[in-house]
Every structure is written in structure tokens, then in C-alpha cells.
């Protein structure tokens, strides 16, 4: 079974340019998450999709970041225009839908290998 895949693995762009990151979750996983790790800091949650809907986007830093998940399959995360502080590793993760209500849900989230974004 294919895991979560992210593209590109590494991107170097100039400040002010646009970059689009892509994540292909595991087939059948309704939940898709974006996380970011800035050098030396903790991994921060960005947003959560359930199918094509944004369940929680409380972690998105500002309106320069736009995430989409058309058709509930792959997701893109666009940064426009990129700033120096956007540099970091962007992780995508997916998991199956929760099973039932009040039942402890399936918890394992599978991560991609990340995209290292460097803004110069």
C-alpha cells in the first residue's frame, strides 16, 4: 500500500514568489492534515481536512497560505507571496475517519516525508 506522498521534496524560492506544495494521502483516508516545522521549533498544526471540507484551519499563519483539497483526494498548500519566515519543513499526514461517536477513534496518522521549503 502506498503511503502519504508529498511533492516536491525540496523547494528553494525567492521571497515574493509563489510555491505550491502537494500531498497525496493514503487512498481512502478522509482526514488530511498539514503541519509545519520551522528550524529548531516544534511541529505546528496548520489545518485539517475531512474529505474536501476544512474542519479546522486555526493553525494557518495568515492569508498568504491557501490550502485546498478538491474532490477530497490530494491536497495543495499554496504560499503566495512567500516570506523568509515561511522556510521550514511542511508535513502532510492522513488518517482514516473516526469510527463512531463516543468511541475512541482510530488514532494513527501516517505522515509523508515532508517538503523542505527554503525562501531566500
Amino acid at each position: 500500500e502506498a503511503g502519504v506522498t508529498q511533492f516536491p521534496s525540496h523547494s528553494v524560492i525567492e521571497k515574493g514568489q509563489t510555491v505550491t506544495l502537494r500531498c497525496d494521502p493514503i487512498s481512502g483516508h478522509d482526514n488530511l492534515y498539514w503541519y509545519r516545522r520551522v528550524m529548531g521549533k516544534e511541529i505546528k498544526f496548520l489545518l485539517h481536512f475531512v474529505k474536501e471540507s476544512k474542519q479546522d484551519e486555526s493553525g494557518m499563519p495568515n492569508n498568504r497560505f491557501l490550502a485546498e483539497r478538491t474532490g477530497g483526494t490530494y491536497s495543495t498548500l499554496k504560499v503566495q507571496p512567500a516570506e523568509l519566515e515561511d522556510s521550514g519543513v511542511y508535513f502532510c499526514a492522513s488518517s482514516q475517519a473516526p469510527v463512531g461517536v463516543g468511541i475512541l477513534m482510530n488514532t494513527e496518522a501516517f505522515f509523508g516525508q515532508g517538503t523542505r521549503l527554503t525562501v531566500v
Binding site: E42, Q55, T107, R116
Partner: protein, 118 residues
């Protein structure tokens, strides 16, 4: 809001020895999950071990085991018989167990970089 704290930015251990990585967390919830993820140089995030808060028994996975102290909100990872392939960044993580709250994002600590000395 929940928080996860890893107070050891880096650690080193001699090959074949045992090492313990510390993690503490803060939450007001009674049911949750705790994880240790490993991130080797390849950057792939790999789930090492998982603990359900309602279980008193500490989780074990081969050479990896945890010491889960719910009252103290402590969740340390012990790696026995350390191997060179264990060298990686280790992240402690928390996730709520209440799907009806729709708050199921994973909260990570800052990580501990583990070096294995040959």
C-alpha cells in the same frame, strides 16, 4: 489548550546501551493518546509507539517501551540495546480521544535529537 514539552534538545547514548527520552504534557482531558514519532534523516515521520491514556499498562514495541505516569502527566520513551539506526529526531505527541469535539489534531513537542555513539 494542550501542550507537550520535551526538555532535552539533544541526547547521546553508546551503542547497545539504554537511553530514556523525557516528555511531559498538559491537558484537562481524561482520555487521550500519546505517541512517540521518530524522524530519521530521510525526514519520514515514523510512529514508534502509542499509549492510550485509559490503559494503565505501559506500551512496549520490541526495544521501545514507555513509562506512562498519568497523574504526573509524564510519558518517557526508553530505548534498550540502542542501535545506530535509532539515531533520529524523536517527537512526543498528544492527540485528543474525543472525536465529537472534532479536535483531533496532533500536538507535538519540540523534539529530542538522539545520537548513537559507536
Amino acid at each position: 489548550a494542550q501542550t507537550v514539552t520535551q526538555s532535552q534538545p539533544e541526547m547521546s547514548v553508546q551503542e547497545a546501551e539504554t537511553v530514556t527520552l523525557s516528555c511531559t504534557y498538559d491537558t484537562s482531558e481524561s482520555d487521550y493518546y500519546l505517541f512517540w514519532y521518530k524522524q530519521p534523516p530521510s525526514r519520514q515521520m515514523i510512529l514508534v509507539i502509542r499509549q492510550e491514556a485509559y490503559k494503565q499498562q505501559n506500551a512496549t514495541e520490541n526495544r521501545f517501551s514507555v513509562n506512562f505516569q498519568k497523574a504526573a502527566k509524564s510519558f518517557s520513551l526508553k530505548i534498550s540495546d540502542s542501535q545506530l539506526g535509532d539515531a533520529a529526531m524523536y517527537f512526543c505527541a498528544y492527540r485528543s480521544a474525543y472525536p465529537e469535539n472534532r479536535d483531533d489534531k496532533i500536538i507535538f513537542g519540540k523534539g529530542t535529537r538522539l545520537h548513537i555513539l559507536p
